[in-house]
């Protein structure tokens, strides 16, 4: 993939976006007649033109390198959500919460990586990103154990490796 120049990479990401949109249309409707498939193609082309016009297809928005590694990352993320969700449920039922603010440093290079990291922190129950400065987050954690889990930098390393 490193051999390709910038233009062909852009074309490849356009094609990927088109395929994703068409699969999404098919899941929602489920028709297989040719006339309805043609109407689906027209509506997918309309949405494609709209998002091209809204400049939603710039270089940052659909990184192809990430898509291949995405399923493994999501399995890891589900495991993480499950672990901290059980911790949060136990905290709610036994009432031993001690909320606190911490600051976390991010080591991702581009904007997509930083947004991804902040999203992952907010998605796991028990930690919420409040403010995003350039490379430091202000994070609200529900207990001391959850904030120490975040400060071991495991999640940061995984999301930085995603973009290599």
């Amino acid at each position: 993939m490193a051999k390709l120049n910038k233009d062909s990479l852009k074309t490849l990401s356009f094609i990927t976006y088109f395929i994703i949109l068409f699969v999404f249309w098919f899941i929602l409707s489920g028709y297989l007649k040719s006339l309805l498939l043609f109407f689906g193609l027209v509506s997918v082309l309309f949405v494609f033109w709209m998002s091209y016009r809204a400049k939603a297809l710039e270089e940052d928005s659909l990184p192809l390198k990430i898509i291949l590694r995405l399923p493994f990352y999501w399995i890891w993320l589900f495991k993480e959500i499950f672990k901290s969700g059980i911790t949060t449920t136990a905290l709610i039922w036994n009432g031993k919460y001690s909320p606190q603010l911490i600051s976390v440093k991010a080591s991702q290079k581009n904007r997509t990586g930083i947004a991804n990291y902040a999203n992952a922190i907010t998605l796991t129950p028990g930690t919420v990103t409040i403010e995003v400065d350039k490379k430091t987050f202000l994070v609200h954690a529900l207990s001391k154990k959850l904030s120490e889990d975040l400060q071991t930098d495991d999640m940061n390393k995984v999301i930085t490796d995603l973009d290599k």
């Binding site: 899941i27 449920t89 009432g95 919460y97 606190q100 902040a118 998605l123 409040i130 202000l138 609200h140």
Partner: protein, 104 residues
Amino acid sequence: MSYNYIELVSLVLLAIGCFFILSGSLGLIKLPDVFSRIHAAGLIDTLGSGFIVLALIVYSGFSLLSLKLLLIPLFLIFTSPVTGHAIALFAHESGYKPKGKNKK
């Protein structure tokens, strides 16, 4: 006698999902301030909905309907952090301070 394995598995998954949703909404009442209650809402959005949708997928079997059911947690995974972050940011900007010790 009429119970088979599929119904039993989906019953267990539904019970787990109901437990998570109930404890999330209990946390919405019990926890002390806005920033802590966002964690409880996140618990409902991720684990509760995930387990209930998993139970429905197991019950219905694999078809186009189960793909459509998989879209529900996918949308929730994309929209729930945005809502939580927006509420936390606006509450912080409006001057509400979180309770507890704050080491910056």
